[in-house]
């Protein structure tokens, strides 16, 4: 900007002259203003095409932000809910395994593949061990020659009743709920497990954790 009224002559007074236009000149253009611009609107005799009030409407702005936030939040929650299916196509956790008389003293592994359980008979009880290592959930192997369960993943060892004695397992293997059906067969429910957490009372003697007198 040239300094006005500084006393010194302007370096180019001729050029400086048209730089002081009158108010009427302000709306004059050379050429055709681009369609849709404020200049074109003014040339067509319209007032400014923008909002007449240029102040920020705080209430409207807040409403817009709340709407955007609520919309994104709803979708965000829906995204997570989406990953939790309502219907599962998983094996039934309640099943019959036959008559108690079919199981001899000791560990029976014949339902390990099908139901992930071992049927265990001691002199006074029949109970069902859920075949999942309490460390990180692998299926241990029954080693008849060593009379123990051994987990192949991290080496936890359990005795023939599923009580941990070596390796990282924090507690004995869980036992599944058992009861006798009216027809005399054993019904197992692996969704109802009896635990013996470390340093806490054992649930292994709760009713339903074992069958006796069968």
């Amino acid at each position: 900007m040239a300094e006005p009224e500084s006393g010194k002559p302007s370096p180019n007074p001729e050029a400086a002259k048209p730089a002081a236009p009158s108010a009427a000149d302000a709306t004059k253009y050379v050429g055709t203003p681009a369609v849709g611009t404020s200049k074109a609107a003014a040339a067509a005799g319209l007032s400014s095409p923008g909002p007449s009030n240029t102040e920020i409407d705080q209430r409207r702005r807040r409403l817009v932000w709340v709407a955007v936030t609520a919309f994104l939040t709803a979708w965000f929650l829906a995204f997570f809910r989406f990953f939790l299916p309502r219907t599962l196509f998983e094996p039934n956790t309640v099943f019959k395994i036959g008559y108690p008389s079919e199981f001899a003293l000791g560990v029976d592994t014949k339902f390990q593949q099908k139901f992930r359980i071992w049927v265990d008979r001691t002199p006074d009880r029949v109970f069902v061990i859920y075949a999942r290592c309490t460390h990180l959930g692998c299926t241990p192997d029954w080693k008849p020659s060593e009379n123990k369960f051994k987990c192949p993943c991290h080496g936890s060892g359990y005795d023939s009743e599923g009580i941990n004695f070596e390796g990282p397992a924090p507690r004995p293997m869980d036992r599944a709920h058992v009861e006798l059906a009216p027809d005399g067969q054993i019904i197992v429910d692996t969704s109802r497990l009896y635990q013996w957490p470390k340093g806490q009372p054992s649930k292994f003697n709760d009713p339903g954790a074992f069958l006796t007198g069968v």
Partner: protein, 308 residues
């Protein structure tokens, strides 16, 4: 134009126009041909060429910078960098090698997808099929496998280098954090890929890995405060990851989608930010600039030398 032809001499108008066109073509065609021939002589002058490459290639500092800046891929990189900072003994080249391995994994991974079905019946058979029958299947699968192992190692070594050279410090703290996220996503890619062969190794590895998620604070049913918040094996974070309470068909499919689509997209976006930030944070950190002894008495290049 239509008006001109509407009169009684419509036909004459048409003939005139055709004559005009022919006249114009007599001038235009040789001119076009000349242009084509010149284009063949010097392709850099053609419109096609200049529309793609928007600057000259004379060896000036400006053009060299533009060569990087005007390329969508290269512009993520510094236009100039201290010579000593890219010394392999300083960088170990580990960031670049990791990115290279990611590209190999993307390429081989997409090809493996053509023969792999993420279902319990087919997954393992497809892996055997790839190993034993698909042309180049064995090398593709093994490239994918080895590149995956090497990428994890590469990320660790890259982080180790960055740590040793103090490159995580101001002003590069933000990029270090992006890098930590990239490490996490690299490990997640590794983990989700582990289940895909649906063999004993992968199955039990994912069983073990997701059983740890049971102990997640708040969100796991065996974790701190989990049971207080109503977490059970049927609604906690592990359930959401597996799509069920056991590692089964849903888990395989989810693993596949996260492995092939979800995580690569997020990791790619983070990589773009990571590379771009290297430049914005002042390029690769490096030792103080040194001159070669041979150059010590020569004038330096660049604007400084011009000013002297």
């Amino acid at each position: 134009m239509a008006d001109e032809n509407n009169g009684k001499n419509g036909k004459v108008g048409l003939v005139d126009r055709v004559k005009d066109d022919i006249q114009a073509m007599k001038v235009d065609i040789p001119a076009k041909a000349k242009e084509q021939i010149e284009g063949l002589k010097d392709p850099t002058k053609t419109q096609v060429y200049t529309s793609i490459f928007r600057h000259k290639h004379d060896d000036t500092p400006r053009n060299r910078a533009l060569g990087v800046l005007s390329n969508v891929f290269l512009h993520l990189h510094p236009a100039k960098i201290n010579r000593d900072a890219v010394r392999y003994s300083f960088t170990w080249g580990m960031g670049g090698i990791t990115f290279f391995l990611f590209n190999i994994l993307t390429y081989t991974g997409v090809l493996l997808m053509f023969y792999y079905h993420p279902s319990k019946v087919q997954a393992f058979r497809d892996v055997l099929y790839l190993e034993h029958d698909v042309p180049f299947g064995k090398i593709l699968r093994n490239m994918h496998r080895w590149a995956a192992h090497l990428m994890v190692i590469g990320v660790w070594l890259h982080m180790f280098r960055v740590f040793l050279t103090g490159s995580y410090k101001k002003p590069r703290e933000f990029n270090w954090n992006i890098g930590v996220l990239l490490l996490v996503f690299t490990l997640l890619l590794s983990f989700t890929g582990y289940l895909l062969p649906d063999d004993q190794l992968g199955f039990w590895a994912v069983t073990v890995g997701t059983n740890m998620a049971r102990a997640t604070p708040l969100l796991g049913h065996e974790g701190p405060f989990g049971s207080m918040l109503g977490m059970t094996p049927y609604n906690d974070v592990r359930f959401g990851l597996l799509g069920g309470s056991i590692v089964d068909a849903n888990a395989l499919l989810r693993s596949y989608i996260w492995h092939c689509i979800g995580i690569p997209i997020v990791a790619s976006i983070l990589m773009i930010v990571h590379f771009w930030r290297v430049r914005k944070d002042g390029g690769i950190s490096g030792p103080a600039p040194v001159m070669l002894e041979a150059e010590a008495d020569k004038p330096r290049r660049g604007p400084k030398a011009a000013g002297e």
